[in-house]
Amino acid sequence: MSGQNGKILVVDDELSVRDSLREWFVQDGHEVETAAEAQEALRHLQDRQNEWDIVLVDIKMPGMDGMELQRRIHELDPGVAVIMITAYASVDTAVAALKSGAYDYITKPFDPDNLSNLIRKALQQRALQRENLRLRDQISDLERGNEIIGRSRQMQEVYELVRTVAPTDSTVIIRGESGTGKELVARAIHVHSNRRYFPLIPVNCGALAEGILESELFGHERGAFTGAHYRRKGKLEMADGGTLFLDEIGNIAKKTQMDLLRVLETKQFTRLGGSEVVTADFRVVCATNRNLELALQEGEFLEELYYRVNVFTIHLPPLRERKNDIPLLVEHFVCKYGMAMGKRIEKISPDALDRLMQHSWPGNVRELENAVERAMVVGHPPRLERDDFSLHLGNGPPRAGSESLEEVEQEHIRNVLEKHGWNITRSAEILGINRVTLYNKIRKYELRKD
C-alpha cells in the first residue's frame, strides 16, 4: 500500500521549525528536505524539477521573503502545492499569497490534525494531476498484502468489481454471509479510490444500541461550554475526505435510519447537544448479511434508504464456495498469528489441511481464522497437525459459550509446564515461544507449581 507519501520541502529560517517538521513528516513516511533560505530552496527545486509535491514556505524570512519565493517556485514548477507558514500577525499577507497562487496557508503553531489534513489534501490534488500513472500502479497489488486473500475465480470476479467501482465516488453495498470479509472489501475500495489520503472509518451499526449510534455517528458537544476541548468527534466528522463504512446497515433502528438518510442526502448534521451545522464530505460503503429486500417488504427497512445505498452491489461468496482458497488463507493466518505470538510455525501437515478442506465453514473466513489461531496456541513448532484443530461439526454456526482462546492457552501452558516439571527453558521450547513470553504468560494466568 503505497502512493500516500510525498516529497516535501520545508523552507524556514528557524532551525527548530525545520527540525520538528522534518521529523514529523519523516515519521509519516514522506521524503523531506529542508532549506534555511530562498536560494537554497530554489536549488532543491531545480535539482529535482517536477519531483516535489509540497513546499512549505515561511512568509517572513531574511533575504528573499516567502511571497517572492512562492512566485519563483511556481515559475519553476506550476504544479507543486505551496503552503505558506505564517505567524498570527501575518495572516493578511497569507491571504495575499493565496490570491497569487499559493495552495493554502497555516498559522504557527499548527494543530496536528489541521496539518495532517492539509498535507493529505495537497497530496491528493497532486496525485490527481498525475492520476493515470499512480492509480494503475496500485491496482496490481489489489489481491496481495493484508488485504483480501484468495485466487479463486469467485474472488477474481470480486476484484474486478472493486477495480471498476473504486475510482468512482459511487455508494457501494457489499453483501455476503457473516465472516466473509466484507470489511476487507470496503478497505480495498477505499485504498484504490482517490480518497485514500483520508481515513476509512468503520461503524458497526449492529453492535450499537439506539441512541448510542447517533452519538457515535454525529459526535457530541457540551452545550454549556463551547471551548474547543469540550467535544467528541463523531465518525461522520472523522470520515471527512475519506470513506464511511457502515457495517450491518440492515440492523439499524428505524428512527436512526431516518436520521442517517437525511445525513446521506445532505452530508450535513449537528453534533448532539450542539447547534453548529457540520458538513462532512465522505463516500459511503455499506455491508449487510441481511436480506434487505425482505426487510423492505416487512417494513423494517426504509425504502428511501434502500434506494440510496443500493447503487452498486458486490456479493462476497461464502468460503464453502471457494474452498481452493483455503490453503492460501491458512498460510496467511499462520504467518499473522506466528508474528503476534512470537511462535515459529512454518507448515501445516497435509492431513490437517485435508481436514480443513472437508469442513463446511458456516462461519466463513472468520471461523477459519479462529480455528488457525487456536491451533497456533496448542500446536508445536514447526508444524500444525490435524489434532491441533478443533472444528465444530454440523452446519450451524460455531457454538457460543465454548472455551475462550485464553482458556485454551492457559490450559495448554499448564499441561506443558507440568509435564516437564516446570522447566522453563524446555517448556518454552516445546511451546515454541521465547522464555520472556512464557514468564509473561505464567504471570498473566497466575500459574503456580503445586
Binding site: E23, Q27, D28, N146, P199, P202, F225, Y230, V436, N440
Partner: protein, 182 residues
C-alpha cells in the same frame, strides 16, 4: 536481548505503570522494566506555552537508558509539544533509544467527558507501543489494524489496536532486522 525501561516522569504516579508494563510485554515480546523516576524536567518547560518540549525531554532521556535496557520510554501527565505544533501525544527518536508519552490529552476529562480509567489505560498502552515502534525505526503504517497508524486526535487512537500489523511486527521482532524503513 535488551529490555525496554519505562521511566516515570512527573505525574506518572497517577497511572498503574506495572499494568502498562505487563501489557507492553505482550505486544512487544520483550522484557519491560520500571526504571527509577525522573523528578526534575524543568529545563523542558516552556512558560510561554505552559507545556513541556518533548524534544528536550528526549534529549534528557537519551542519557538515562538503564544499563540492562536498550530503550527508555518516559511516561508523564504533563502536556507535551514540539515547537511547530500545538501539542503531541508523544514523541520518539526514530531508530534511537528514547521516547516519551503523555496522557494529558488521553484522559476523557480533558474533553469534558466523564473519567474512564480503562479507556485511559488502553490509549496509553497504544501510544507507548507506537512510540517504541518508532524507536525501532518504524514509520507510520497505512494499515488500520496497526498500532503504527498515525493519530492526530484522540478518537483516532480508539480506532486502532494495541499491536502491530504483520509487517511492522516482523520489523520489531527481537531476532528480526532491527529496522525496516518503508
Amino acid at each position: 536481548m535488551g529490555a525496554i525501561a519505562l521511566m516515570p516522569l512527573p505525574g506518572a504516579e497517577a497511572i498503574d505503570l506495572e499494568r502498562i508494563a505487563l501489557q507492553l510485554e505482550f505486544s512487544l515480546h520483550r522484557d519491560v522494566t520500571l526504571a527509577e523516576s525522573l523528578r526534575h524536567v524543568d529545563q523542558a518547560y516552556d512558560p510561554s506555552r505552559d507545556q513541556y518540549n518533548s524534544r528536550t525531554l528526549i534529549d534528557l532521556l537519551r542519557g538515562l537508558v538503564p544499563r540492562d535496557a536498550e530503550r527508555v520510554l518516559g511516561v508523564t501527565s504533563v502536556d507535551l509539544f514540539i515547537p511547530v505544533l500545538t501539542f503531541v501525544f508523544g514523541e520518539a527518536q526514530l531508530g534511537g533509544p528514547a521516547g516519551v508519552v503523555s496522557f494529558f490529552r488521553l484522559d476523557n476529562r480533558f474533553y469534558g467527558l466523564p473519567e474512564n480509567g480503562e479507556l485511559l489505560l488502553a490509549r496509553l498502552v497504544k501510544e507507548c507501543v507506537h512510540e517504541i515502534g518508532h524507536t525501532y525505526g518504524l514509520l507510520h503504517c497505512p494499515d488500520p489494524d496497526c498500532v503504527m497508524r498515525s493519530s492526530t486526535y484522540v478518537e483516532q487512537i480508539d480506532l486502532k489496536p494495541a499491536n502491530f500489523c504483520i509487517e511492522c511486527a516482523r520489523s520489531v521482532q527481537p531476532d528480526g532486522p532491527s529496522s525496516r524503513m518503508r
